[in-house]
Structures are given as structure tokens and as C-alpha cells.
């Protein structure tokens, strides 16, 4: 794992270059697919989209199909790379765990001021659930899209039942994909999640944020080292008292966890909050 704490800069490396490339390849090609896919409906001319500068091609079904195909090469290859690469490396951080549904409801309540967040691993429980949902949606889109492409190129007289399945699966999962994308955008707009935006843009999040919100993850990284470093650099001190709240919650929350891993986190989190507390004083 490329995950690393850089104390002098107050950062934690959350994603390596490969992950960033995967994410943005899928995201950007996915958006191109949504757009060109919509232009596969006879709507661009009807709704004057063709008159928008740069979108004159949107009314030509052959051109929009070429764009759709080209974008899907990136989308399909990146998606399968993701599954194979991380599958072989044994990365399991985004696989949903037992109790994720219950915890994610608690987390969502906490966004609206009800209750406190539990301490997090690298990913939030709803991120793991959303990931599983997105994997399913993308898998269905790719599968049905490949059937449709094969029909277009080689087998226009394929069994009608197969064609209808592929078409309607593609159309329905297109709608689900757009809804999932909007939920993804809504999640990053929520204030507590915003620090993660930096993670997916630069690969790193602030150490301060990670320590307070993802103590279990920080503990994992520190546990992976032979000689765990003790205290946090003063540069990483809490700048916003608002983020201190979850840290206390995480400390208590982690204490309730029976696993050894969580116990390490408890230590890390409480030493963190002690540190920052002293500095404040």
C-alpha cells in the first residue's frame, strides 16, 4: 500500500497514482458515456442541443455511437483493471462489512446533528455500501453494453430475448448510474465529507482530518510499521474545534470495539486528542 503518514506536511497519502488514474478514467469516461448515451435517444435535435456550441455532433447518431464506443473502451478496461488489480493485491477496504447498513444510518443521522459518528476505517460504511452498489450497476452496464455491441457488429439477428434483456438492462441501469452519480456528488457536498475531495484530487488528505475521522485507518497504517511513531507533529494540530468532537466520539466508540485493531485505534485517537488538547491550552 502506498498509504503513508507524512507528518512534516500534515498529510496522509490516501490514494496512489494508480487509484487516482482508475477513479478519473472511470469517472470521466462514465460522464462521456452518459452524455453520448443520451444522444443515442432522438433528443438532441428535438431539444436544440445541437445548437449548443461544441455539441453540433449530438444530433448524429453514428458520431455519438462512435463517441460512446470510444469512451466505453476506457470505461470497460479501467473497470476490469480495477477488479483484477485490487482483487489480486487483496485490497478489501471497500468491501462492505457486517453492520455497515446500521452504522451508515447512524452516520447519516449525525450529518443532520443527531448523535455522533463512530470512528472510521479508511472508508465510511456508506462508502463501502455505495461502492458495492456502484460495482453492481457498472457490471450490469458493461455486460449489457457488450451484448449490444456484439449485436451491432456481428449478430444483428441475435435472439430477440437476449437483445431485449441487454437493451432494457442498459437503459434501466443507465438511470441508476445517473442517480448513483448524483448521490456521489451530494455526498461530497456534505461538510464532514469535504476533506476527502482533496484525497481524490491529489491523493492525500490532511492528517488532522484523518486522525479525527478515520482513527482506525491511521492505526492500521501505524500498526503496519515496525516502529510506530508516537505523537503527532504540532503542525497537525486541530485548527477547528468542530473536528475535535468526532475525535472524542471515536475514542469512546473505539473503546467499545472488542477487536485488537480497534484497541490500537483507541490508543492512537485518545493520544491524538490529548495532544491537541494540550496544545490548545
Amino acid at each position: 500500500m502506498a498509504e503513508k503518514i507524512i507528518r512534516e506536511k500534515g498529510r496522509v497519502i490516501r490514494h496512489d497514482v494508480v487509484e487516482l488514474v482508475e477513479h478519473w478514467a472511470i469517472a470521466l469516461s462514465g460522464l462521456a458515456l452518459v452524455l453520448s448515451g443520451m444522444f443515442e435517444m432522438p433528443m438532441a435535435s428535438r431539444y436544440y442541443i445541437t445548437s449548443v456550441p461544441g455539441l453540433a455532433w449530438s444530433g448524429d447518431f453514428i458520431v455519438s455511437l462512435s463517441v460512446h464506443y470510444a469512451a466505453s473502451i476506457v470505461f470497460v478496461a479501467a473497470s476490469l483493471f480495477h477488479v483484477v488489480y485490487h482483487g489480486m493485491r487483496g485490497d478489501r477496504g471497500m468491501i462492505p462489512q457486517k453492520g455497515d447498513l446500521r452504522t451508515s444510518i447512524e452516520v447519516m443521522k449525525s450529518f443532520f446533528g443527531k448523535g455522533k459518528e463512530p470512528p472510521f476505517h479508511k472508508y465510511l460504511p456508506e462508502q463501502r455500501l455505495a461502492y458495492a452498489g456502484m460495482v453492481f450497476i457498472i457490471a450490469m452496464l458493461i455486460l449489457s453494453g457488450l451484448v449490444k455491441t456484439f449485436k451491432n457488429v456481428y449478430a444483428p439477428d441475435m435472439a430477440y430475448a437476449a437483445v431485449l434483456w441487454a437493451t432494457w438492462t442498459h437503459n434501466i441501469f443507465f438511470v441508476l448510474f445517473v442517480l448513483a452519480f448524483m448521490a456521489h456528488m451530494a455526498a461530497i457536498v456534505l461538510k464532514p465529507n469535504r476533506p476527502m475531495l482533496r484525497g481524490i484530487l491529489t491523493g492525500a488528505v490532511s492528517l488532522d482530518y484523518a486522525v479525527h475521522r478515520h482513527p482506525l485507518w491511521i492505526a492500521e497504517i501505524e500498526g503496519a510499521k515496525e516502529k510506530p511513531t508516537q505523537a503527532v507533529d504540532p503542525a497537525a494540530e486541530a485548527k477547528d474545534s468542530a473536528v475535535e468532537e468526532p475525535a472524542k466520539a471515536s475514542a469512546t466508540g473505539a473503546a467499545e470495539e472488542p477487536s485488537g485493531e480497534a484497541a490500537v485505534a483507541d490508543e492512537a485517537a485518545s493520544s491524538e486528542s490529548d495532544e491537541t488538547g494540550k496544545d490548545k491550552v
Partner: protein, 206 residues
């Protein structure tokens, strides 16, 4: 024309238009929204719209759809019952024939040879299942025709426009293999990097 690879069918966003194994390209009138993509991609603009009818009236009639597209369905229902299409049966001069593809193609070649004539539909739009045989060159036949809605012409050598997308389409079908190969290669590189790092640290410790 019941083309070999009919863009009108493959490009339909709802698969309301389909080419069956018997060669007939048929629009399902209960599924068609009348968006007319099929007409746009057909070099003869054979599918034509009847506005104001069909399923679109029951969905969002003001915003999507516009009727139902109609084209010759080769009397597919009659074919299923073992009957000939209505036009073939009704023609008093037996000017039209229907049969297995190979036989009909052979017959067309033979007739064309005998009359020193010409064939239309063999290569047009990437090949079709409807062949016309005429002693008059089709350039001349076409010159007498004026393309209008519902009245196709017979321009020679019209291209299958969707063929432009075939190469990229084939690349799409290869994309899964590309992704898997890259994933395996990437993971192996990561594994070997990790191994050599571990060896290095063992050396340091040793």
C-alpha cells in the same frame, strides 16, 4: 430491404426494431416510440412515422416520442404460419419470389445473366435480403425516381453508414481482455516490487 446488418434495427434505443433469424426486420408496434432514428440511419428512409398513435401517448407524450414507425415486416406473421408474404401471393405475374437466401441469390444471378441485366440490393447498405433484377441499369431506373417520404429511390452502392463504427466496436469487445491483462500485469509488478523491498529490508536487518 431486410438488410444483412440493418442499422435501423441495431440502433433502436428500445430494441423495438429487430432482425429475426429468418431475415425479416420487424418493428414491434407496441414498443416503438416513433423517435425515427431508424428512418435517419436508413439510406432509403424506408421506416416512416405515423404520428399520434402508439405507446408514447401513455408515457410523456409532450416530451418524448411521436408515434409509431412502420416498414415492411416481410409479412413475418404469415411466414411463421408457413405462408408467403401477401405481395408475393397477390402478384398476378409472379414477379416476386421468396425462398432460402442461397437459392434466391443463385436465381437472381442466373436471371441477370440470362437477360444481361443488373442486380440491386446485393451490396447496397452492406448487403440486403431483397434483390431486384432488371435489364435496365439501375442508374437509369434511379434517374426516374424522386425520393420522397415513403418513396425510396434506388441509388447504386449506398454505404452502410454504421460500418464506420465497426472498428471501434470491435475494440470495445476487446476492452475487457485489455483491462484484465493490464490488471494482472500491474498486480504482478506490485508483488515483485514488494518482494524485492522485503529482501532489501532483510539484508539491512541482517
Amino acid at each position: 430491404m431486410h438488410c444483412d446488418n440493418p442499422a435501423c434495427a441495431t440502433i433502436c434505443p428500445f430494441s423495438a426494431n429487430h432482425k429475426y433469424a429468418n431475415g425479416a426486420v420487424v418493428i414491434d408496434q407496441d414498443l416503438c416510440f416513433g423517435g425515427a432514428k431508424c428512418k435517419t440511419v436508413c439510406p432509403w428512409e424506408i421506416p416512416q412515422r405515423q404520428s399520434g398513435v402508439g405507446i408514447y401517448l401513455h408515457v410523456l407524450p409532450d416530451y418524448m416520442g411521436n408515434g409509431v414507425m412502420y416498414k415492411c415486416d416481410l409479412c413475418n406473421d404469415r411466414l411463421r404460419e408457413g405462408k408467403e408474404p401477401g405481395c408475393v401471393e397477390a402478384c398476378p405475374h409472379k414477379a416476386m419470389l421468396i425462398g432460402p437466401r442461397r437459392e434466391i441469390f443463385a436465381l437472381a444471378e442466373e436471371r441477370s445473366r440470362r437477360m444481361k441485366g443488373h442486380i440491386y440490393g446485393k451490396d447496397e447498405n452492406g448487403g440486403t435480403s431483397t434483390l431486384y433484377v432488371s435489364p435496365v441499369p439501375f442508374e437509369l431506373v434511379n434517374a426516374t425516381m424522386k425520393k420522397e417520404p415513403g418513396k425510396p429511390d434506388m441509388q447504386l452502392g449506398v454505404k452502410r453508414k454504421m460500418a464506420e463504427t465497426d472498428t471501434v466496436g470491435k475494440a470495445v469487445l476487446a476492452a475487457p481482455a485489455l483491462g484484465i491483462a493490464a490488471g494482472v500485469a500491474g498486480a504482478f509488478k506490485w508483488l515483485s516490487d514488494r518482494k524485492s523491498k522485503m529482501k532489501e529490508s532483510e539484508k539491512k536487518d541482517g
